[in-house]
């Protein structure tokens, strides 16, 4: 990877937090990760291993850690789709998206974005009227509306029924593929997704980053060279079995 392709370099030497009962918990130990522009990276690990903690550090939401991030995430445009959609229930779908835009773009036409994610008919509805799948799509559209350098997805498919998960996966693929075709290195968006579902990671990612149980560190990085369109269910299953055989911790996730 050349320097122009590098989006974010992280070296987290340690992250400890205090539980409400005062006990110190070491969440991360020695985790170095480089993200490239146009790359789709999945962080995979067992529940409670520190995936979301790592994600929060990488996004610049948690500054209380030992190590460094280059560049400072504050200098990057980051769009985040949280695990719970975190939409404002008192604002409509369209307003939820518009609010995060910079003032100069607040009146931008969102029709294209809403249509892409199948939200055109729901633009005037409130989040309380939406299914979880639709709310996740709004959350994804909101994250993309800021035209991010880095799109961050925290367990986007968890708790969705099969149909909603398929639909959202289509949206994520569309977003990733669309932005990867952006002109010039600066126009290409990196995607960082946290998941504990190896199958969905194998379907979507260019690179898997396997995390150890807490305190987490990188067990292995696996580059997937098969084009996304060519990844059949059989291929996904074969790869998953091979990974589980090499890393028994993955059979728990």
């Amino acid at each position: 990877m050349n320097a122009a392709d590098s989006l974010l370099e992280a070296r987290i030497t340690g992250k400890t937090y205090r539980r409400p009962d005062g006990v110190a918990m070491e969440a991360v130990r020695e985790l170095s990760l480089t993200l490239a522009r146009g790359e789709f990276v999945c962080l995979i690990g067992p529940s409670g291993c520190g995936k979301t903690t790592t994600l929060r550090i990488l996004c610049g939401l948690d500054h209380d850690f030992e190590g460094s991030l280059t560049p400072d995430p504050a200098r990057l445009a980051i769009g985040i789709a949280f695990q719970e959609p975190r939409l404002l229930p008192w604002r409509t779908v369209e307003e939820n998206i518009r609010i995060v835009l910079p003032p100069a773009r607040r009146r931008a036409d969102l029709s294209g974005l809403l249509a892409t994610f199948g939200l055109a008919a729901h633009r005037a509805r409130y989040p309380g009227e939406l299914s979880l799948g639709l709310a996740r799509r709004v959350s994804l559209a909101r994250a993309l509306a800021v035209e991010p350098d880095l799109l961050v997805l925290d367990e986007p498919f968890v708790s969705l029924d099969a149909q909603a998960a398929v639909e959202l996966r289509r949206c994520v693929t569309l977003a990733a593929e669309g932005k990867r075709k952006g002109e010039g290195a600066g126009g290409r968006m990196g995607v960082l997704m946290v998941t504990h579902n190896v199958r969905e990671a194998l379907q979507l990612a260019d690179r898997l980053v396997l995390l150890a149980p807490r305190p987490t560190f990188i067990l292995e990085e696996v580059r997937l060279r098969v084009p996304r369109a060519a990844r059949s269910p059989d291929w996904v299953e074969t790869e998953r079995a091979a990974l589980a055989a090499r890393f028994p911790v993955l059979s728990e996730v």
Partner: protein
């Protein structure tokens, strides 16, 4: 609560029943201490024709408006600050308790002694009586602010004003509405006491004058006229405002 014609008819019917009961008891009692509704109405039309009714109502309403606005603004700022900053709350919570438990009459008398029988003292006395209750209600609201939405606002780098307008104030709205409704009811009653004790005009002053003349029709007339004004504000301003602010909840029914 949604408007229904049947509900309105029940309320109107109930008020007419109260008037009939009053008329019946007044006729039976046949005493200066309980004039008939007709006598009160006659006083009101005479006072209105002379112009005194409207000037006294206007003066009192202005005092209610200024002291209510002052109490809501100061109480909300204190409440939110206490709710968000635990140290501040610990340091000054006892001040709030002292003020909450100081009788309205004591605060009023002290304000008049320290600041003289002035408009400032009157408005300040009313506001000081209401500020602690607004602060306590808003402190609870601020404590209940969603950390998830706060993190979302931070992740999308919303400006301070956008955070307040789209994220914080809508969450505080039920607490603000509660404080406003209970506040208005409390403030107008205290304004009358403050006027009775130390102002040369207003509904409270008029009631004190007619009390000395033992003119019960006048006392009831002024009380009813002002109650009608406050009810008009409750139904014409506060409730529509609340319904507008909660429209997203109605939509989700």
């Amino acid at each position: 609560m949604r408007f229904t014609w049947s509900g309105a008819l029940v309320r109107i019917g109930s008020l007419i029943g109260l008037l009939v009961l009053w008329q019946g008891v007044a006729v039976l009692a046949h005493s200066r201490a309980l004039p008939t509704p007709e006598a009160v109405l006659a006083f009101l039309s005479k006072e209105a024709a002379a112009g005194d009714l409207f000037s006294n109502l206007a003066v009192t309403l202005a005092r209610v408006a200024v002291s209510f606005a002052l109490a809501m603004a100061v109480g909300a700022v204190i409440g939110v600050a206490f709710g968000r900053m635990r140290r501040l709350d610990r340091a000054f919570d006892s001040w709030l308790v002292v003020l909450l438990n100081t009788p309205a009459l004591v605060i009023t008398v002290l304000c008049y002694i320290w600041l003289g029988l002035t408009e400032t003292a009157a408005v300040l006395a009313v506001a000081l009586n209401k500020i602690p209750t607004v602060a306590v209600l808003l402190r609870e609201g601020a404590r209940a602010l969603s950390p998830e939405l706060d993190e979302m606002a931070g992740a999308f780098r919303l400006s301070f004003l956008d955070r307040m307008r789209h994220v914080v104030l809508p969450q505080l709205e039920p607490h603000l509405a509660g404080a406003a409704r209970s506040g208005l009811a409390l403030v107008w009653k205290i304004v009358l006491v403050v006027e009775l004790l130390g102002r040369p005009n207003g509904v409270g002053y008029a009631i004190s004058v007619y009390f000395q003349l033992f003119d019960v029709a006048a006392v009831l007339g002024y009380a009813l006229a002002f109650m009608a004004v406050m009810l008009a504000i409750e139904y014409g301003v506060l409730q529509p405002f609340e319904a507008h602010a909660r429209r997203w909840r109605l939509e989700t029914r």
